[in-house]
């Protein structure tokens, strides 16, 4: 059985790509595969599109709305959706619902992203370290996380922001603290799995430093699952932030925020049920889209 000399064989792609850089079109990278699978997933694409519209509207709020979100009007209170000039009606103080929903997205989406981002950076680092180092470091980090875990997340967020005082920033701090523990736990689990793989042993066998192994071998293999988990937390964060606002601990009136709007419109639920439900619908749609999208991401990335 003779194996020909490699330099002598010239494949079709080699001949065609002669003179070009060596990459030569053979590489179907992992991320290219993920992108291809995502493109086929219709649910994920629709969800991403909806989220994109909501996000874009929130960012460019002054350009897509025509009313002042803070301008009240006693004679135009609780107009039903479809009224002239107020396509989604008005709230209990006569402010335009559509405008306030768009502006409310600014704070609600921000309070959804920010705590998750902070918690992913901190919790992810802690968890990956705990998982890779194992032993006592793992024990120390994960037992501290367990203390946070002992409290229901809503209760913990309420307690922390209650202790820090009401306000947007304190609410964000409270929610970041709440999310650190679950992110750390997921990261620890994934990192522990990866750490026991042969390729990590092989990397250690080269005598490379720990941080190098963490960055080049562990991180690329744990990032996917951690990001998927984090994206599913965004919806929880939006709901939680709305809950804090609802309890008067997050955003304070007259700022527009979906949770706060839900709170203040609650009293009008018998008079104008549709208006009262609208902020809830926004919360529901947004968090649902984040959830479905993270499901789609997981499916697309979960291939070996």
């Amino acid at each position: 059985m003779a194996m020909a000399e490699p330099a002598a064989i010239r494949t079709v792609s080699e001949v065609l790509n002669a003179g070009r850089p060596a990459r030569a079109g053979v590489s179907r990278s992992y991320w290219a595969g993920v992108r291809r699978r995502l493109a086929r997933d219709r649910v994920t694409i629709v969800c991403a599109a909806i989220l994109f519209v909501i996000l874009a509207a929130a960012i460019f709020a002054p350009y897509v709305t025509w009313a002042d979100p803070y301008k009240t009007s006693m004679i135009r209170r609780l107009l039903p959706p479809g009224s002239p000039n107020h396509i989604l009606g008005t709230d209990e103080l006569g402010r335009d619902m559509f405008t306030r929903l768009v502006y409310g997205g600014r704070i609600s989406l921000f309070t959804g992203f920010m705590p998750v981002f902070v918690a992913t950076v901190i919790g992810g680092t802690l968890g990956v370290l705990a998982g890779y180092l194992g032993g006592r470091s793992n024990m120390l980090i994960m037992r501290v996380m367990d203390v946070f875990y002992a409290f229901p997340s809503v209760l913990l967020a309420v307690a922390i922001s209650g202790a820090l005082g009401a306000g947007l920033v304190n609410g964000l701090v409270a929610m970041s603290l709440v999310f650190i523990a679950p992110v750390a736990r997921v990261s620890e689990t994934v990192a522990t799995q990866v750490r026991n793989e042969d390729f990590v042993e092989a990397a250690r066998a080269t005598g490379a430093r720990t941080w190098r192994i963490l960055i080049e071998h562990i991180l690329p293999n744990v990032l996917g699952p951690i990001l998927i988990y984090a994206s599913s937390l965004i919806s929880v964060a939006i709901v939680l932030a709305s809950g804090l606002s609802f309890l008067g601990l997050g955003v304070s009136p007259p700022n527009a925020d979906w949770g706060l709007m839900l709170n203040t419109l609650r009293q009008s639920i018998y008079v104008a049920p549709v208006n009262a439900i609208l902020p809830g619908v926004m919360i529901f749609v947004t968090s649902m889209c984040f959830n479905l999208m993270s499901d789609g991401l997981r499916a697309a990335m979960d291939v070996r």
Binding site: M3, A7, S27, E197, E201, A202, G207, R212
Partner: protein, 359 residues
């Protein structure tokens, strides 16, 4: 079977070795009384005292340029020995001397220096490659983390790919899942060679490949050994493969060395009853040599509580009272000093009723 002949490359090391420190007579690797006992995890309040004696006092040496085969049943401590040598797990006791330099002691060579000189190829060709890295990056990782600039490390990776018979133009940027098992194992070999090691531990490296690919990879290993003047530690449970590649063979049983000797000698005149059982358990192509009685039955005893005295006595056809009392030392045969056996039935004046086979 001929192999790919890649033109000599000036960037890769060639025969005469400037890294030699101890002289040609100094063994590449000297291992003495290596021990690893894994504690069995107890709970917080009742710490367990039980330990698994995975490797329990193993001593051997590997001469420069030779291939030492290590055989034994699953769980006999072959792979643990390999990981201990690589310092992937820390030995509990024992000394390792690499080319005259004791490892990990003052005035010896540090562990990372040892790891540069000694590399390992694992059994599972897929699990031992990072699925998120193109294979050239996997190969380049080691040299890069030892300070070689990225471009040079990648250049070395491409050279090595050519050396193991994979065209770098086609394979360098591929991911592990795009390769076959044999190709992946070639990549793993290239990765081990990237550190310019002098000793390569092959831990069941060809066992998972199918037979024709196994033969190709074996021949590649043999030719690389000559070209790069490597020393191999070849761990396998496949006695035929070990016979093919090894100069000397070491038989392990339950964390200890049962027998060690030159390959022809060990395969023709095995002394230890365990070695004989192993060798007669090989499948034969000759129908006249068909056996109906299994040479050895049952599983090895639990390494948590190994039998007293000789560890093999519970399955040994020659076991006597003395075997339960005294642990047989690994002793050279008087007539054949290179051949060492740990068995009372072979040693003179051991108290055993007779030497079973004439030496």
């Amino acid at each position: 079977m001929t192999l790919a002949v890649v033109p000599e490359n000036p960037r890769l090391p060639v025969s005469a070795d400037p890294r030699d420190r101890g002289g040609p007579m100094q063994p590449m690797l000297l291992v003495e009384d290596l021990k690893k006992h894994f504690p069995i995890k107890g709970s917080l309040f009742s710490p367990s005292r039980a330990v698994v004696k995975a490797v329990d006092g193993v001593s051997f040496e590997v001469a420069k340029g030779e291939t030492l085969g290590i055989v034994g049943e699953s769980g006999c401590g072959k792979s643990t020995t390999a990981r201990l040598l690589m310092h992937l797990i820390q030995p509990d006791a024992g000394t390792i001397v690499f080319d005259g330099d004791p490892v990990g002691v003052v005035r010896g060579i540090p562990v990372d220096e040892l790891q540069r000189n000694m590399q390992m190829v694992f059994q599972d060709s897929y699990a031992s490659l990072n699925p998120r890295l193109p294979i050239a990056d996997s190969i380049a990782f080691g040299p890069k983390s030892h300070g070689l600039p990225k471009s040079e490390a990648r250049e070395r990776a491409r050279d090595l790919l050519g050396m193991v018979g994979l065209n770098p133009r086609l394979f360098a940027e591929r991911y592990p899942h795009e390769l076959s098992g044999g190709q992946r194992q070639r990549v793993n070999i290239a990765r081990a060679l990237a550190m310019h090691p002098r000793l390569v531990i092959l831990d069941e490296s060809v066992s998972a490949l199918d037979k024709s690919v196994e033969a190709q990879v074996l021949n590649l290993l043999v030719s690389l050994k000559d070209r790069l003047s490597l020393t191999y530690l070849f761990i396998s449970h496949d006695l035929n493969v070990v016979q093919y590649v090894s100069d000397r063979v070491m038989v392990m049983y339950l964390g200890r060395v049962a027998e060690i000797g030159p390959v022809e000698r060990l395969y023709e005149a095995p002394q230890h009853p365990y070695t004989r059982a192993l060798l007669s358990s090989r499948p034969s192509m000759d129908p006249r040599r068909r056996v109906s009685v299994p040479p050895l039955s049952g599983d090895p005893p639990n390494p948590v509580n190994p039998p007293s005295g000789c560890r093999f006595r519970t399955r040994c056809p020659l076991a006597e009272a003395v075997c339960a009392e005294i642990e047989p030392p690994l002793a050279a045969l008087p007539a054949f000093p290179a051949h060492k056996v740990a068995c009372h039935a072979v040693a003179a004046a051991s108290g055993h009723s007779g030497t079973a086979v004439p030496v």
